[in-house]
Amino acid sequence: MEPVKALLAWLLWIWLALTIVGAFFYAPLAAGFIGQSSRILFFHVPMAWTAFLAFYVAGFYSLRYLFGRRSARDDRAAAAAIELGLVFGILATVTGAIWARIMWGAYWNWDPRQTSIVLALIFYGAYLALRDAVEDGEKRARLAAAYAVLGLAVTPFFFFIVPRITYSLHPEPVINAQGKIAMEPRMLQVLLSGTVGFTALFFWVHNLQTRIRRLREERPEPREIEA
C-alpha cells in the first residue's frame, strides 16, 4: 500500500500545482471585476467549501461517537476535522477580505457572508477551547461531541437565516438560485479542479492528523529522568 499512497500524494501535489498555474494562465478574467481580482475565486471558493465540508465531517464523526460505539477514533477524527476546518475557514476569510478590499473598497463590511463565516469560526474556536478545558479523555470526547452536534443545529442559522437580515453584495454562488451553472467553461474547469484538489488535500491531511492524535494520546507518560 505504501508506494500507492506515496504516488497518490505526488499526484495531488501535481494536481494542485496545475490548478495554480491554470488559475493564473489558463482561465480568463471574469467580466465586471477590477483588474485580476476575479482569479482569487479559484482559491477562495474551494477553501470555503472545504471549511464547510470539514465542519460537517466533524458533525458526522461526533454523531457517530455519541450514538455509536463511542470509539476514541471517531473523537480524534472529529477534532482533527474541526482544526482543519478552522484553517481553511480562516484562509477563506482572509482571501475574501483581500478581494473585498479591491472590489468593495474595505477589507471588512459585515457582508452577510462575512458574518456567517465569522460566526462559524467563533463557534468552532469555542469547541477547541472546550477540549482544552477537559482533562479526562472519555469525558472530553463526550462533551466535545455534544457541542459539535449542537453546532449541527445552530450553524444553519449562521449560514441561512442570520444573513437574510440584510442584503448581500457577495457574488452569486456558482450554482445560482435558478439551479443553473453560469460560468465560462475554462473558469469552471479550474474552479472544479481546485475544489477537487482542496477536498482531496483535506481528506489526506485529516487522515494524517487523526493518526498523529492517536500517537499523542497513546504515547506513554514521559518518565522522570533519574539523576
Partner: protein, 228 residues
C-alpha cells in the same frame, strides 16, 4: 426491571420544585441576575441618559443594549444550575433520582422562569429610564418571551456541558455566546421591529424555530452529556 416509582412528569416537577426551593433559600441566582442587570442598566443609563442618544438612533441602538444586558446577566447567573450540583456532589443523587430528559426539562423550566422574571424587571425599567418609545408593546413582549426561551434553553445545555470542565465561569461565556449569537441577532431584529412599529415578519418565526431546535437537540444530547 421493576416498575418505576415515579412518572416522567413527577420527576420533572420535582426537579423544578427542588431548584426553586434551593434558589429561594439562598436567592443566589436571583440576586446575581438582578444586581448584575441593574448595575449594567445604571452604567448604560448614566452614560447615555435619555438625552444622550438621538431619538432616531434610539430605536436601532437601544434594543442592542437591552439584549446585551440580558445576555450578560444570564451568563452571570444561570450556569450555576449545574455547576452547583458538581460542587456539592449532589449530581450522583440527581442521576439516580430522575431520568435525564425529565431533569433537563425541570432545569430548563427553572431557567426559563428565572430569565422571564429578569426580563419582567429589567425591560420596563430599561424602557422607562431610556425613554424608549415602544410602538407595538405586544410584539415587544413576544420578542422578550421568545428570546428568553432561547436564552434559557441554550444556557441550560451549555451549563450542563461546562459543569464537568475546568474554568467554568469563563468557559460558559466562551461556549454559550456562539450558540446564542444567532438567537441574539434575531431577537434584536425582532425587538427593533416592535419598537419601530414594523411588522414582526419572519424574525419571530425564526426565533421560535431556534427555540424548538435547541430544545429538541438539548433533549437528544443531554443524556450523553449528563451520564458518564
Amino acid at each position: 426491571m421493576g416498575r418505576r416509582a415515579s412518572s416522567w412528569a413527577e420527576e420533572a416537577a420535582a426537579v423544578f420544585a427542588k431548584e426553586w426551593r434551593c434558589e429561594l433559600r439562598t436567592r443566589y441566582a436571583l440576586n446575581t441576575l438582578a444586581l448584575f442587570a441593574f448595575t449594567t442598566l445604571v452604567i448604560v443609563s448614566v452614560a447615555l441618559g435619555p438625552l444622550g442618544i438621538a431619538l432616531s438612533q434610539g430605536t436601532s441602538v437601544l434594543p442592542v443594549l437591552l439584549w446585551l444586558i440580558l445576555l450578560f446577566a444570564v451568563a452571570a447567573g444561570l450556569p450555576r444550575a449545574f455547576v452547583h450540583e458538581e460542587e456539592t456532589q449532589t449530581a450522583t443523587a440527581l442521576r439516580l433520582a430522575a431520568r435525564p430528559s425529565a431533569l433537563f426539562c425541570g432545569k430548563l423550566a427553572y431557567g426559563l422562569i428565572l430569565v422571564l422574571a429578569l426580563e419582567a424587571i429589567v425591560a420596563p425599567l430599561f424602557v422607562a429610564v431610556m425613554s424608549l418609545g415602544v410602538a407595538r408593546p405586544g410584539a415587544f413582549v413576544a420578542a422578550l418571551a421568545a428570546g428568553g426561551l432561547g436564552l434559557a434553553a441554550g444556557s441550560t445545555l451549555v451549563a450542563a456541558i461546562i459543569a464537568q470542565a475546568r474554568g467554568q465561569g469563563t468557559l460558559f461565556a466562551v461556549l454559550s455566546f456562539p450558540v446564542l449569537l444567532p438567537l441574539l441577532l434575531l431577537s434584536i431584529e425582532l425587538t427593533r421591529n416592535a419598537v419601530a412599529g414594523a411588522p414582526a415578519g419572519m424574525a419571530l418565526l425564526q426565533v421560535l424555530l431556534y427555540d424548538a431546535m435547541v430544545i429538541v437537540v438539548g433533549l437528544m444530547l443531554f443524556p450523553s452529556v449528563w451520564n458518564p
